[in-house]
Subunit: 314 residues, 2 copies
């Protein structure tokens, strides 16, 4: 137990998952072709076909999704790339989205996959998890609950994030076994008979050893793709204190059955991401004006799909 | 030769290095404690001790540095972390810094160490190297010349960046052997007798094979730390078409002698980064009002130091 376990990111996340009985995080990855045309047209009329117009449409989209989902889904995961592609206006929308989701009671995982040498990693940790000191004041630039981290640089590139987790009651998910087709090129390679992803899993365990919360999970979690069910099962068995962020369900090909062994016997231990499957569900229903309703229905369908495999989350 | 070699990022960079006879890139890493107090005080008086005040001071600092250095140093490398730590105002300053440096004729390497699965990597590539399409218009969100990339995810996470290099005459530097003390935890591990950094070097070579410029170097380069001279020498010999971005000189402990073997027999093949060594040189001279002059003098000292080992760059 850490000294700070009344404010432990993974405890908060698990409590939201239990309350909603839904181990889903919705990826707010607003590629512009996923944003309903009527929202874009409305903003383009005001601001032209500009990054500002696009960003305003994205924020309307995100707000509609958050309003529809905040009582049935515990968490959102905005993907920084799609906000950065819209420039400064996009980053403004990222900022506003983080705040709005938290106002509506949602847990926010900033999917930024940051990682750098020590002093630089500390600046990223300040930006997304901690505070930036300006004179005698301090500000949270983008106050997410958790952040995804790429640990190719090793311990000294991760330590500042881990420190911020302890200091501010935040958490990180370190890339271990990613969901994409070519993840194995490096991650599956064997080092003394052990795959790189397992070596990374070992490091994640040691980085998070001092930050175990009330449910037995560390604030230092791991990203493990739904598209690799055998590896998930193996990693779940081997790393009982590591909470998993699981991308790759749905559009990327992962199924609920693939995820059966990602969870512990209480149905805890992981949260499954769906991005376009939920946020662009309206495209299958054919009514873009009801994008929020379509997202709600798809989120409910996904919840039932996952629970059919996991059972009640206790 | 690529079809597009009249607009090849590494050719442009090499030409700027030859013209200035200086294989140095200045890291614009404006941690607030490196920004002269008088600049901060002036902005705090106008904007309070806020992120906006801090960001305005950073921009004044960057402008002063760029003005002082643009005729003697070929490139700057703003580190995203320090701009993100200042929130939306910081990103505005990053944007303005990229534009100002390019206006003054400098080559801009965005040090962001981005990397993600394919569709997301494409959005990052749009943001920093290519264009974001908005309706019938297209915008360059943060138009750097090159971007640092983390390739832990493998080929499909890198391919969109490589495509943008070809389409827009841009380049990337992929993390191979980083300069930090714990880089070896993963990067030095042996896979079938080959260290991970060399495996990564092989992948970099294959990703960049179609993007060789007029000087024989690919638009897909590698980050190799000055703090590991043996590995630099080994990688230079093994990967003659891979241009190196070399951090770790100065404050991190790398010396010019360590870099002797990072360059080819014409003195080409790498660019050495210094961040706080140059931008905070004024702290050693004791006159913060002359931060730009101090940076100029340190940049000239570093140039002489490097050339004493490399000789003339042809």
């Amino acid at each position: 137990m850490n000294a700070n376990n009344t404010n432990h990111a993974i405890d908060t996340l698990i409590e939201k998952i239990i309350k909603t009985q839904n181990p889903t995080v919705v990826g707010l990855d607003p590629a512009l072709d996923l944003v309903p045309d009527y929202l874009k047209q409305r903003e383009f009329e005001k601001h032209g076909e500009t990054l500002k117009g696009a960003a305003k449409a994205v924020y309307k989209f995100n707000k509609g999704l958050i309003n529809a989902l905040c009582n049935i889904v515990p968490a959102v995961k905005p993907q920084l790339a799609f906000y950065e592609a819209l420039g400064v206006e996009g980053i403004k929308v990222f900022y506003k989205t983080v705040h709005y989701a938290r106002e509506r009671g949602m847990f926010v995982i900033a999917d930024a996959k940051r990682g750098d040498i020590g002093s630089t990693a500390a600046a990223y940790a300040d930006a997304f998890l901690g505070e930036t000191k300006v004179g005698l004041s301090a500000y949270s630039a983008f106050p997410a609950n958790m952040l995804t981290v790429n640990a190719y640089l090793g311990t000294d590139g991760v330590a500042p994030f881990v420190k911020a987790c302890g200091d501010y009651g935040k958490g990180i998910f370190v890339l271990v076994k990613t969901s994409n087709p070519s993840s194995g090129e490096l991650q599956d390679k064997l080092i003394d008979g052990v795959p790189v992803y397992e070596l990374m899993g070992n490091m994640v365990t040691s980085w998070g050893a001092e930050l175990i919360g009330n449910y037995g999970y560390s604030a230092v979690g791991a990203v493990v793709g739904a598209t690799y069910p055998e590896q998930i099962a193996q990693l779940r068995a081997k790393f009982p204190q590591t909470f998993f962020l699981i991308p790759g369900y749905g559009a990327q090909g992962g199924t609920a059955a693939d995820l059966a062994k990602a969870f512990d016997d209480k149905g805890r231990g992981g949260i499954v991401n769906s991005s376009r499957g939920i946020i662009a569900a309206y495209k299958k229903e054919g009514n873009e004006q009801d994008f929020a309703g379509a997202a709600y229905r798809e989120a409910m369908r996904m919840k039932e799909d996952l629970l059919s495999v996991i059972g009640e989350i206790k």
